[in-house]
């Protein structure tokens, strides 16, 4: 059973580990918010790989797997506009663990490599059907070709 966060476990605090070396491309990644544009850096901005360190909640550091997580594709956070309609919100990156098939969605950082993000989006159109179904079962919808304009707008802005 997944216990409540506040009940006696030390995972309530997100520990700032500082800069780290990417598990995939081995580049040194600075964690400062001034670079990332987000408070919690959770993937490499050069290759966009992540690492499986969280288990129940972001920042709990409870996972013993610690394997690399490859960028599977993109999804959009759903939000509700002022008229109560569900609209696509912030663009998110989907990561899947290479060892235990764990899945996580993470915010895109300010300094993430845009060309690689677009490449991931293109590649995600040919994803294995089983993986797509697994993601959908977990409530994560991979953006498909129909949302290409949304991805372009989110990453490169609108004219």
């Amino acid at each position: 059973m997944k216990p409540r966060l506040a009940y006696g476990y030390p995972s309530t605090r997100v520990r700032r580990d500082g800069d780290f070396q990417c598990i995939h491309c081995h580049n040194l990644v600075p964690s400062a918010a001034a670079w990332a544009g987000v408070q919690h850096r959770n993937h490499c901005p050069y290759c966009l790989w992540s690492r499986h360190v969280d288990l129940y909640w972001a920042g709990d550091r409870l996972s013993a797997c610690k394997a690399g997580m490859w960028p599977v594709g993109l999804t959009a956070k759903q939000r509700v506009d002022r008229y109560g309609r569900s609209i696509p919100g912030e663009l998110m990156l989907i990561h899947a663990c290479v060892e235990c098939n764990g899945v996580a969605i993470n915010r895109i950082a300010a300094d993430d490599h845009v060309a690689i993000l677009l490449e991931i989006f293109q590649r995600s159109q040919d994803l294995d059907r089983r993986l797509v179904n697994q993601l959908q079962a977990g409530g994560i919808a991979v953006l498909d070709a129909a949302e290409a304009s949304l991805v372009q707008a989110r990453l490169l802005g609108t004219k």
């Binding site: 216990p3 506040a6 006696g8 030390p10 995972s11 409870l62 996972s63 013993a64 797997c65 610690k66």
Partner: protein, 334 residues
């Protein structure tokens, strides 16, 4: 430390310790004692002629940090005849539960603080609520007890505060996780007497030490276990939810139903002492069978090494991720 057991002085057991005064029990009589200054000195003997009698002291270092006498120690003392005595020797201990002292500043050297000596079991006390239990602190107590080869008992007090509430399920889940490892967990309440009979049975005939954070209800539990003790207790601070350090000294109580129990002041930190990082996994019973089965055998640190059997067991759900996290945190600290 002088542990001369050939001394003609009387033997007794230290049952209470306050600053500078030790209360020694012998034949039903309690005598307040000071300690001989010899016990506070570490002697360095000449190694030039180790067979010479008597051995020549080369130098003496006065130890001001460590207290040479702990509650539970069997000592030799001399009655001064004026209602006081002097402890002249501490007999060899069967075991001792100790923690690393807090340091006044970063970089300062910690030293050993003995909590109690000559124990049969460790009773880790936690409150179901107010203050919220800290399972990582519990893991520290359990590791310390395992390193001494002592059995542990987990007692969760103030169960009446959470009975029927949302937290009850979390508490049962945590208790189940520790029972699965092999630690007995008792849910108790000093208010309605829940679990006290079971606790009495577990304590009977043994010397136990109560350890836990301030405000968890160690002394209250003791008052409920043995009515008539009338020990001072206090409610936790309403604003902070923390204990008020009501018990300020360690004391051993002889139990009517057999055995003895040592009540200790609450602690906020419990640093492990005399536990080697290399063998830490041995003190986690659920990890013991897996030691040596990793890809790198006994060299595996169980941190990030590929083919680690312990990490694999955590991923499979055989080992609790919280226990593994405690292991990692303790290993980093040692």
């Amino acid at each position: 430390m002088n542990t001369n057991s050939e001394s003609p002085d009387d033997p007794g057991v230290v049952i209470k310790k306050t600053i500078g005064t030790y209360f020694v029990l012998r034949g039903g009589q309690v005598l307040p004692c000071g300690i001989s200054s010899l016990l506070r000195k570490d002697f360095v003997y000449s190694t030039a002629d180790p067979t010479s009698m008597p051995r020549r002291v080369q130098s003496a270092r006065f130890n001001t940090h460590e207290d040479p006498v702990a509650v539970g120690d069997i000592v030799r003392f001399r009655d001064a005849g004026d209602g006081n005595g002097v402890i002249t020797a501490v007999l060899p201990r069967r075991n001792r539960m100790a923690r690393r002292s807090a340091v006044p500043m970063p970089g300062a050297h910690p030293f050993e603080q003995v909590i109690a000596a000559n124990l049969d079991q460790v009773v880790a006390v936690f409150a179901a609520a107010r203050p919220t239990p800290s399972w990582h602190l519990l893991d520290r107590y359990l590791v310390s007890a395992e390193s001494l080869n002592l059995p542990s008992l987990v007692v969760i007090t103030k169960f009446d505060l959470v009975a029927g509430g949302e937290i009850e399920d979390d508490l049962f889940a945590a208790a189940k996780a520790y029972r699965k490892i092999g630690y007995p967990v008792l849910l108790t309440s000093a208010v309605d007497g829940l679990g006290l009979d079971e606790l009495r049975q577990t304590l009977a005939g043994r010397v136990s030490v109560l350890v836990g954070k301030s405000g968890v209800g160690k002394t209250c539990l003791l008052n409920a276990l043995q009515p008539g003790l009338g020990l001072r207790v206090n409610a936790v601070n309403r604003s902070t939810g923390k204990g008020r350090h009501t018990t300020t000294h360690s004391e051993m109580f002889l139990l009517d139903f057999g055995g003895a129990i040592i009540d200790t002041p609450g602690v906020r930190e419990f640093g492990l002492w005399n536990v080697d990082a290399q063998v830490l996994a041995e003190f986690f019973p659920e990890m013991q069978p897996l030691i040596g089965t990793c890809k790198f055998g006994l060299d595996c640190r169980h941190a990030e090494e590929p083919g680690c059997a312990i990490r694999q067991a955590v991923t499979n759900g055989a080992i609790s991720p919280y226990r593994y996290q405690s292991f990692v945190r303790l290993r980093e600290e040692l």
